[in-house]
Symmetry: C2
Subunit: 352 residues, 2 copies
């Protein structure tokens, strides 16, 4: 089969890790006789530098035409400490999510046996954890009206949600939990926020259509605590955009390494696959960044194409690299035996 | 000296634990020759039941006249799953914060040596952690305009901040860090939110007045991760209301037990002291809830009065109860030697 893949390396270590994912895909193409056609596109800080626009029109077009999008990371420290800058790299990603209506960000969080020793949490707390987080991605405070007053003395951001925006991702979450452990935890702040009340009401209603799924309610503050105290409590987590941003990153500590977490952002027509980690500017260009999250994003993309066997081939290769300890320094420590980014990519491709 | 203390036991285990704090205060009064005059007041679910109002006028009056407020907990499960209810217990607390302008919520988070074994985090990660969280408490999305549309199909919440609202708590945070480890970490989401940009701009400006304090910037998602990966990175954390709500509860896992965390909410004229934990409805009326957070809230109140020696007396008694393992089942496990709430209170009072 032939697939067109829009590749957006982005900023920081994005290009380096995305290259390794392409190696893995090329290996899959060879073994399983597929054609993956890569269309490179720009987004983020690099796109601002090149075109003045964090999301050039061509990038949107390339993405719309592609069967899926493989994305690296976005952002640049030079924008972080100058809040007066009007254009920011991140706007590119937010706009892309909106343009393609990628409303559901799906983050699987598992404790990898080989990495449990690296996790900050005790083994007995995290062993066996298997969580799937559904974060709403195209509404909420990210996309509401926002403004700083002319005199610079005040600012506001509006968080808004509609029943439809809540419903479509809620259905995805319930369906996913049906082939898992039949439990959905809705995280909100409905003791304070109107939008959260709407979430709770809407999701409680939808839950009635999924008779064998249990719906659990949890306030965001309590959830941030329970996620660490007792991660095995969770099966599927469902939440809105901003809470989901915080909770997803927090949950990454359970896996033993954020360097292995991949996520997908799904809409009706399009799908984007990317590592959970960011641009890691300190590592940029040094061939030391962990490419496994990007490689596993490629595996998620293959699953999305229905290529389960091919995805498994990548996942087995990743497991093998962990077993053999052919890993980057974030996992292995900064000793001289840590493998370079490109070497890990080569190993994965060879093994496939 | 004579002090008038407004006591708001509130809901759930609030009354039980607040009673133990009063025992500790009575012991201090006896030993150090003070008079603590308690004025009981209602707030929350119990106040709704009694008066229809989660914050009766008399409660506000009592609090305004008092030298400080000792508060228990608020909320009732019967309100949690019915988002259509117009009155909620939590409104009482939010209104009280606003009425008294308690703009700064201060949460100390320390890893207690005796409790490290109970924490979900590894010893080497948390040992020596000592964080002071400043959470803005009277603005942001908690107090912005909020509405559900008439047809029930959409809802919004407005988050807003002014430079003044940010400045006053920022100064408190910087001042606090000067007598600590001279570092303030501002947590925001300024790569997306206008209010966060205002926070970053305002706080960066204020930082210039505190030459020997280092200001660190961190996005909320990243902070939720770093707090668990490397809690010792943090000295003073400064953040807005909603992020602060999530981060404070998350940080509680570092202490080894949320049952020991006390917090203060400070304004120009008033100050409220309360446990970080909530109403813990499952334990209500069973004499099993941990009273130490409430007792330590009383100690914070004494510090606020400038009674350092008296506060130390309480803290030493708490340490002793931990050393001797005279603790409730949340710390000790559900074996038959766990002490009852009232027994822990008695021990603390006796020891003082
Ligand atoms: C880069 C940033 C705008 C983005 C977000 O907050 O959504 C990122 O943190 C993420 O989670 O994908
Ligand atoms: C009870 C609730 C409204 C409150 C809050 O969210 O502020 C609580 O969680 C807290 O942190 O004091």
């Amino acid at each position: 089969m032939k697939y067109t893949i829009a590749v957006i390396p982005g900023d920081g270590i994005g290009p380096e890790v995305t290259n390794q994912a392409k190696k893995a895909l090329d290996a899959v193409a060879e073994v399983y006789d597929h054609i993956f056609l890569y269309k490179e596109a720009q987004m983020g800080s690099c796109a601002i530098d090149a075109t003045g626009n964090p999301l050039p029109k061509e990038t949107i077009e390339t993405c719309k035409k592609a069967d899926a999008i493989l994305f690296g990371a976005i952002g640049d420290p030079k924008y972080d400490n100058d809040p007066s800058l009007k254009i920011r790299p991140e706007q590119g990603l937010l706009q892309l999510r909106k343009e393609l209506d990628l409303f559901s960000n799906i983050n699987p969080v598992k404790a990898y046996d080989q990495l449990i020793k690296n996790a900050p949490l005790k083994r007995e707390i995290i062993k066996g954890t298997d969580i799937l987080i559904f974060r709403e991605l195209t509404a909420g405070v990210y996309f509401g009206k926002k403004e700083t007053s002319k005199d610079g003395k005040s600012a506001y951001d509006v968080c808004s949600y509609s029943v439809d925006e809540i419903s479509r991702i809620a259905h995805l979450a319930f369906k996913a939990s049906e082939s898992r452990r039949n439990k959905v935890t809705l995280i909100d702040k409905s003791n304070v926020l109107e939008t959260s009340k709407l979430w709770r009401k809407t999701v409680t209603e939808i839950a009635k259509q999924y008779k064998n799924v249990t719906l659990e309610h949890m306030y965001a503050d309590n959830a941030a605590m329970k996620l660490i105290l007792n991660p095995k409590n969770f099966d599927v987590i469902l939440t809105e955009n901003f809470i989901g941003d915080i909770i997803s990153d927090e949950a990454s500590v359970i896996s033993g390494s954020i360097g292995l977490l991949a996520s997908s952002s799904i809409g009706e027509e399009n799908a984007l696959f990317a590592p959970v980690h960011g641009t890691f500017p300190e590592a940029m260009g040094k061939d030391i960044a962990n490419p496994l999250a990007s490689i596993l994003s490629a595996a998620m993309m293959l699953e999305h194409f229905g290529l389960e066997e091919e995805a498994d081939a990548i996942k087995r290769a990743v497991e093998k690299s962990l077993d053999l300890n052919i890993t980057t320094q974030d996992i292995k420590g900064k000793d001289k035996y840590a493998a370079a980014t490109s070497k890990v990519g080569d190993f994965i491709a060879d093994y496939i």
